[in-house]
């Protein structure tokens, strides 16, 4: 007999248990359970207002969950304490959330680039301020990231002079520069003109080939099919249906999933 514990096969990078989120009286997430293993690519689909963006935003604590547990790399985020009535409340310290967010990158629908910094400055910022790298090293690393998203020649441009697609690629480079273990995409192409969607999706697809762990909230059903290792369909704050892209997108069992796909599946895939 040996004392070493048996390693759990592909231990989850992220484990979400009974996650709930309330905004005032409205319960937006009604108990989400989710395991994300390293290398998983999870596409999250659902009608607007279904809670899919809120779920994503709870995972890097842009929104703090009302209850439930989020574990990252095996350790619980926040400090849990038992209330008198037996419920568990989790307190989050800003300091801990700051560390968590360094491990969980996020790409926003509205890019949220810093308009007073060049593309290079945007990508460097986290390296300088958060990681404390020297300016030259940060610049070198940032240039590598910009080259990865095909924007090496735009390093010195300010965001105002970039197209929407270019802005989003800078935002992806900015998130990648922090070397996150998990990357969250919140409708990364929804704010783009149709002709600019492709260049952003190509960049994301290249990340698939690197084996990155990613969660993607999207309306692009066709892309989700090719991108995802698993698809979640969210409705009314719960995971309504999940499975492989083949199962959920080609052969949905639930009526609501079928209705959603009938509305959104404008392209063949």
């Amino acid at each position: 007999m040996t004392d070493t514990p048996t390693p759990v096969p592909s231990a989850p990078l992220l484990r979400v248990t009974e996650l709930r989120k309330q905004f005032g009286p409205a319960e937006v997430l009604k108990g989400i359970d989710l395991n994300v293993a390293p290398g998983d690519r999870i596409a999250i689909l659902g009608a607007s207002g279904s809670g899919k963006s809120t779920l994503l935003r709870c995972l890097n604590f842009m929104e703090k969950p009302s209850s439930g547990r989020v574990e990252l790399g095996g350790s619980v985020v926040g400090t849990e304490r038992m209330l008198r009535d037996g419920r568990v409340q989790t307190d989050y310290s800003e300091r801990e959330l700051t560390r968590v967010r360094q491990r969980v990158g996020m790409v926003f629908q509205q890019f949220n680039l810093f308009p007073h910094m060049t593309a290079l400055g945007n990508v460097m910022e986290g390296l300088l301020t958060v990681k404390g790298l020297a300016r030259e090293l940060a610049a070198t690393q940032a240039r590598v990231q910009l080259a990865r998203v095909g924007l090496a020649d735009k390093a010195d441009e300010y965001p105002a002079r970039l197209s929407g697609g270019q802005k989003q690629r800078v935002a992806i480079a900015r998130a990648l520069a922090m070397e996150p273990e998990l990357l969250l995409f919140d409708e990364p192409t929804s704010a783009l003109d149709p002709e600019l969607v492709g260049e952003v999706l190509r960049v994301i697809r290249a990340l698939v080939d690197e084996g990155r762990t990613m969660l993607l909230v999207t309306h692009e059903v066709g892309f989700a099919y090719h991108f995802a290792s698993r698809v979640l369909f969210i409705a009314d704050g719960v995971i309504h249906e999940q499975g492989t892209p083949e199962e959920v997108l080609k052969h949905p069992r639930q009526a609501r999933t079928q209705a959603f796909l009938a509305r959104h599946n404008e392209f063949n895939f």
Partner: protein, 221 residues
């Protein structure tokens, strides 16, 4: 009424006017630096979610916005020394009154400028793992200050003009010197006209500069 304009007495003693101008510039510089930096602290304080920071900052703003600067200066000069073990010079009293008043007003400018930034800028910074302080320093303030510049330059002009209130406690600045000249030579018409003109000479280029600044900032967006 036939006044014979005669500026001789005003110009006879240029040192007096120079000393006045130096005094005006000195108190302006002190109040500009103190007023704006304290204003930034107050503005950040009013933005804070912590009650023990937010409440005193708000009380400060309300108190100093709703009491006249002249009363504050007189109180600092005549009343405060009774409560303190040391004397208060005219410059200290006047600078204190004008700076605190400017801090209250510019605090509101800073708060408004910070609040005018989209939530997404905070979130973009936080998502990189920045603390609130880092996000404020690196992302929010640099953009907010650009938006606030026109309002802040207006505040600077107000501070310049408020400096004349220091004459109430006999601090040597332009108006105080004008008053002296007028009372010695019985020429208030010429003396005060020259003082007004001197302020105009200082302020007009400043105001023009703010117009240029505003135009350039608009083009930048």
């Amino acid at each position: 009424m036939n006044h014979r304009w005669n500026f001789d007495a005003v110009w006879a003693n240029p040192e007096a006017l120079l000393a006045g101008a130096a005094g005006t510039l000195r108190i302006f510089a002190i109040c500009l630096v103190l007023g704006l930096s304290l204003g930034l602290l107050v503005g950040l304080g009013r933005y804070s979610k912590r009650k023990w920071i937010y409440l005193p900052a708000s009380a400060f703003v309300e108190f100093f916005r709703n009491t006249p600067v002249l009363v504050q200066i007189l109180w600092f000069y005549f009343a405060l020394p009774m409560l303190l073990p040391f004397e208060i010079s005219p410059l200290m009293a006047a600078a204190l009154g004008i700076s605190l008043n400017s801090a209250a007003f510019s605090g509101e400018i800073f708060r408004g400028g910070i609040q005018s930034l989209e939530r997404g800028q905070w979130e973009g910074a936080q998502a990189l793992g920045m603390t609130q302080g880092q996000a404020m320093r690196r992302v929010i303030l640099p953009q907010a200050i650009k938006r606030m510049l026109p309002a802040l330059t207006n505040r600077a002009i107000e501070i310049f003009k408020m400096s004349t209130l220091a004459s109430a406690v006999a601090y040597v600045e332009l108006l105080q010197q004008g008053k002296l000249i007028a009372s010695i030579h019985y020429n208030p018409i010429e003396a005060y006209a020259v003082i007004a003109l001197l302020f105009f000479v200082f302020l007009y280029p400043m105001v023009q500069a703010t117009y240029v600044l505003e135009r350039r900032l608009r083009q930048g967006d």
